[in-house]
Amino acid sequence: MSPIFSPVHGIHTAAGRYLRRVAYEDAPPARSGEATSAARHVWQIAFGLAVRRRFEPDSPLAEIRRTVTAVLQHHAAAALPALAAEMLIRDALGETVPVDEIDDAVRSGAHLLLFAGLVEELAMTDGELEGLVMEAEELAVEVIAEAVRDQPAASAASLSFT
């Protein structure tokens, strides 16, 4: 296991902590544009986990649209494209949908904001949210370890979004 993931209980990465702060509306998701690829990967996995908890693969599109609309209205300043956001959710549900050519910053912004919206809709407790983020971190560990191998001098702090 990567040294980043010590056996200490709780969220281990700055990316995970940032994700939790976004879910608590305690951090500006606009900073997602500065994220590392490892951090983006954690967010993408967490987003996928939340999507699959909230929706079934055959959930009505209108239900998905309601979630997207609510999130985009709540975060109008982020100006996320509605259809791209919807497609990211459907992609996470396993549908074949057009998700190419979505800018990294837009993609991560959507992952973060939709994740926060889904956590809100699911009325997750602090413990459930922490468990979800930790699960995403564990699933992302190979990618993060790869990033560490590619940058051996980098400290754990470099895995944050800053």
Partner: protein, 150 residues
Amino acid sequence: MGQSGTLDNTATAAGRLLLESLGEESPARSLSRRHDSPRTVRLLRELFTVAVRRSFVGRDPRDVTAYVRDLLEYQSLPAGGQLAREAEAVIRSVLGEPELAYGIPDLRRFELICHIVGDLARPPGVPTAELVALVHQAEWRLARFDRPES
């Protein structure tokens, strides 16, 4: 809606132009050449609305995604990215989600409408009589929306 029309029964010159284009070997390309006639472009937009609603209202909305993918692949256009999302947005914009297409430039929207109308409303898939009836309906919509307020 009448189903016994011929090309000559079409009331307007714009309608006849659209029907001529739809009868050609490459309808989308032919339709795209009509861009210099504002009346024809407006009629084409109405025909697009009519054709899309007749094809998709009452169906699973996910059918739109699959249809767009098939259409773009058939046209050898990229089917997994921005163009596909824009095509879906343009279609869904006339199915009750107009906001989806707000950011799409007019020229791109026109090109997509040409491709979609050229596919949804052309013989032999759509019989000539039905096609004429569709254009009549589009003309009626155009006349209704162009009517000055009294």
